[in-house]
Symmetry: C2
Subunit: 248 residues, 2 copies
DNA sequence: CTATTAATCTCGAGA
DNA sequence: TCTCGAGGTTAATAG
């Protein structure tokens, strides 16, 4: 039931409690044929790159993807305990009585090494997935909601541009109020802290310098709500807030 | 080789191309005995909660952890295409000719549903892992490096407190320079953008108001480097920068 | 629970 | 490549 048996075209190729040589063969074949490869067993993990870490012996689940990413999972946590991003090159090798998986990339230089003392299962999967995720409730939904009904920000608001560039970055919605004053609108899909206020403040500042006219420029933060500190900071910087969610 | 065969104590329990009933049995038994459960096959995924999403038919790898988290992976990307955080309750059921995995939690109300049209493999694993990850190269390492050798910030720098509270949040290192002036140091383990400068600026502002004396207060950002926009913002706000990494 | 910040954040867009 | 900002960010920590 391994690649050596000529079944490399099967959607699934699995060995339970394999010999080391058989495991290496299946993993290498999986890498070569762009399959999703998983291993489970007792292993140590070392990482060195942007930071460095060590993880002693324990049972973990390792997933190597054909795009070059690798994920090491324990039995808890949503996040992998160790990982490597897409674009790495994987290698499997037998080192005496251990199976070693190495994943490497450059810029930045990063290396992950998993050394299995015992392999309980090896699998490779042929993945056929053309479908893309469709997500809503995003910041884009909030923007569309406002562009369809600008009065939600305030009566008389007229959007003139989205992603308008300034020296400090792009303003989500740029426009005019009912009195013709310039309006910079910063959108956040959920409750925000002081960071978002700082962002809006930098945009309004940049606008004032870019336009170097003395016309009043208003900055409005649109989000479901703000924290107390964010409210303070809005107040102190003469910025405004409108409560709005991305949906309905 | 399933739980029904009395092998539920084996470290690995795997079925390839199982019948739906057998798959449901293995998965349910895995949930009940706190094992790590994985499935691979053709499925649809729906999520509704903080946002909502749909994912059409395709091959995916699903991992259910005994802590209540669930991860749905495609063949690309380091991140799962769908997931649920720890603390959810999982259920497996047969719905006509499909296998359904449901994961739910409250506060916030969130639900993930995976519906398998075809199951190519089911596995459950007994995970024994007492080891914890040891990581370095973090912001804490940078702080320790400076506390051991304050002159790295500048000759004569004297740290007086860490995490000193202000109205705007905690200052990483609070101290005095050689001339007795108050110094607020903000630490970042890697290259930073304008957000970190905004943070430091808020702290220095808050300090000036908290101490309401006219003594000069200096703000110093310590990180490996800064972006151009961050450098501009430092300059405009009268803040300083010292280049330092967490390591060596 | 809320609030705040770090992260080997990841990811995608844009220059 | 770097930079910048979004994210169902997640995770840890404090209150």
């Amino acid at each position: 039931m391994t690649a050596a048996d000529g079944r490399q075209d099967a959607r699934v190729d699995t060995l339970v409690d394999p010999s080391l040589d058989a495991a290496v063969t299946v993993v290498e074949n999986g890498f070569e044929t762009d399959r999703l490869v998983t291993l489970f067993g007792r292993c140590k993990v070392d990482y060195d790159g942007r930071a460095s870490s060590t993880l002693g012996l324990g049972d973990r689940h390792v997933m190597c993807k054909p795009d070059g990413s690798i994920l090491v999972h324990t039995d808890e946590g949503q996040q992998p305990v160790n990982w490597q991003p897409p674009g790495c090159t994987h290698e499997a090798s037998r080192e005496e009585d251990r199976l070693r998986i190495e994943s490497e990339r450059s810029s930045p230089e990063e290396r992950l090494t998993v050394e299995f003392e015992q392999v309980s299962q090896v699998s490779t999967f042929a993945v056929d997935d053309a479908t893309e995720l469709s997500l809503d409730g995003t910041e884009e939904d909030l923007r569309n909601r406002i562009l369809e009904e600008p009065d939600l920000v305030e009566p008389g608001f007229t959007p003139l541009a989205t992603e308008r560039d300034t020296a400090a970055g792009a303003i989500d919605i740029f426009g005019e109020d009912a009195d013709g004053r310039t309006l910079a609108v910063e959108l956040k899909r959920k409750r925000v802290g002081p960071d978002a206020v700082g962002q809006l403040d930098r945009y309004v500042d940049a606008l004032r310098r870019d336009l170097h006219d003395d016309a009043e420029i208003r900055g409005i933060l649109v989000s479901p709500s703000v924290t107390d500190r964010a409210a303070d900071l809005l107040e102190r910087n003469g910025l405004e807030f409108v409560s709005l969610t991305p949906r309905k």
